[in-house]
């Protein structure tokens, strides 16, 4: 029986009702001594509570469009088996990294342990956006071992509704990065996890800014691509140029990563959208067609001259919320639009990639880390950085 079928939902509800009625009818009809009757009553109660919880979870899962789509998905058996890259190659070249002397704008931030292994956090008030929220940072061990190197940075964007904790907790971001570094597939990089929905009451799918500057409202684009970025440059030995900066997000964060790399090639060289989508969905954007267009990866790739940046879109064949067809539409658009020839647009579709959940997305991390690392600068020594030579 499918985890996301109405039948399964109805069966769980029916069982709950049966147990509830049985509890009411049989409570004082249980035979045996007191030592037997009490445990049986408790058993009835707990069984009913378990079924009620199950029915609620199954209903929620279905009503959200199928976050966990199967039993395999539930036990974490998703994989990238059988998936491969395809798409448009673009004209991306890794230019020599020229690092200007960093001009400190936001000043030194105070960092405290974040409670997630290795991450530290700070409360940042963005100079340009005026937004105050949390930013989490992880430094690879190479950062302290090589004090004269500057490092590439990955900025990681969570979904909506969600929080930075998802990257650090259930998705085990740092553990995967460490494993990728030690296996040699990925250069050491600084991980930065900002809050994507820092504005109160703008944290739901249908009222958040989708990482955009909304006139008369919040400037989420500015927060993510200027304030957070500058804070990292001011406080860590991070590569200043776009060649050292990558974006990665899942779901709404994937939409954001795709959009921001197309909008800001001066700040980011590459982006990964894990199970993202490519046209805005929040009414904050969609109620203004022009605003929606300028913040739509699909529209930009079709109508604008898009820059020599790299975009990877991953999707799972089982994901009912953001299916692989959305990636294919982007690739089709890139291939048919003469103005987007310079842009690398690729997809990585996992036939057994699971549903729309963090366990499924976690399976993508080794692939996406390696893909980003191939397109971003390696750590550079500060001396050669000043000479504008890539190490």
């Amino acid at each position: 029986m499918s985890l996301v079928s109405m039948t399964f939902r109805d069966v769980t509800i029916a069982l709950m009702v049966v147990i509830a009625v049985a509890t009411l009818l049989l409570w004082n009809r249980i035979p045996g001594p007191r030592a037997v009757r009490i445990p049986v009553r408790v058993g009835f109660l707990i069984l009913g509570e378990a079924l009620a919880t199950l029915a609620l979870l199954v209903s929620l899962n279905i009503s959200y469009g199928g976050l966990v789509v199967s039993w395999k998905d539930l036990i974490g058996a998703q994989s990238t088996k059988g998936a491969h890259l395809s798409g448009q190659v673009g004209q991306v070249t890794l230019h020599p990294v020229a690092v200007a002397t960093t001009q400190r704008l936001s000043g030194h931030q105070r960092f405290t342990p974040a409670g997630y292994g290795g991450f530290i956090k700070t409360t940042l008030t963005g100079v340009k956006s005026g937004i105050t929220s949390q930013v989490y940072v992880w430094l690879p061990s190479q950062y302290t071992k090589n004090p004269h190197q500057q490092f590439p940075v990955l900025e990681l964007l969570h979904g909506v509704p969600d929080s930075p904790g998802a990257w650090m907790g259930p998705m085990n971001l740092a553990a995967h990065m460490k494993a990728a570094i030690s296996s040699g597939t990925t250069n050491p990089a600084i991980l930065v996890v900002p809050e994507v929905t820092p504005i109160a009451n703008h944290t739901a799918p249908d009222d958040n800014e989708e990482c955009s500057d909304i006139p008369g409202d919040a400037k989420l684009d500015t927060w993510l691509t200027q304030d957070v970025r500058q804070m990292v440059l001011d406080n860590f030995r991070a590569i200043d140029s776009a060649a050292g900066w990558g974006l990665m997000g899942y779901s709404t964060g994937g939409f954001c990563a795709a959009k921001l790399v197309l909008q800001h090639p001066d700040r980011y060289r590459a982006a990964v959208s894990i199970s993202g989508y490519y046209t805005p969905e929040s009414p904050s954007l969609t109620q203004d067609t022009a605003l929606a267009d300028e913040n739509s990866p699909q529209w930009l790739i079709t109508h604008r001259r898009t820059p020599a940046v790299s975009l990877l879109m991953t999707a799972s064949a089982q994901d009912p919320i953001d299916p692989p067809s959305e990636c294919q539409q982007m690739i089709n658009a890139a291939k048919s639009a003469p103005l987007s020839r310079a842009t690398e647009v690729q997809q990585f579709i996992a036939p057994y990639g699971g549903g729309h959940n963090q366990t499924a997305w976690e399976k993508m991390l080794p692939t996406t880390f390696a893909w980003l690392s191939d397109r971003l600068s390696a750590p550079v020594s500060q001396q050669s950085a000043q000479q504008g030579v890539r190490q």
């Binding site: 996301v4 709950m16 009620a52 959200y64 974490g76 994989s79 190659v89 998802a166 907790g169 109160a200």
Partner: protein, 188 residues
Amino acid sequence: MSLTGTPFQILTIAAAILATVGAVLLWNRVRGPRVVRVLSRIGLLLSGYAVSAVAVLVSINIAYGGLIATWSDLSDNMSAHGVGQHGGRNFGHWRGMCGGKFPGTWGGGAPGGTGRPGGGRPAFGGGQPGSGQPGNHRPGNGGPAFSGHRPFACPSTSATPSASAGGTSSPSPHGTSSHGTPSPSSHG
């Protein structure tokens, strides 16, 4: 008290235990006419169900790193696109694509095993990072690899995705694009 803090988690679990114990102790002590007694017992039962479900939801929310991170987020997400509205009106935009059927390509015989012990671990449960060796999927360096790509296909429907439509720039006919059509989405 934080929605994602340990104190609140403990409180909800304690409440669930208390509701269960309370039902056992109070079941035969409720007074009044038969109707009142039955209604009271139903109340005991349902409050136990509700409190237990809340405890599990809170724990899952915490285990997933804070899907709903603050009380304000909770009220925002409840009011902006309440679950009922989701269930009634919006089902994720694949509904238009697949006629309401989930793309169930993970059928019984699917070779979906990870082949990587330690890799397959549910997110919630908080075990150690399941990164036995997550690094052997290095893609090629940007080379085009088109062979055998299977575009997403709806199971057994006539609605073919536009994957082969050769570069449609307009919003897809399947409702994945919704300019000017404010509709609640189910994105995470």
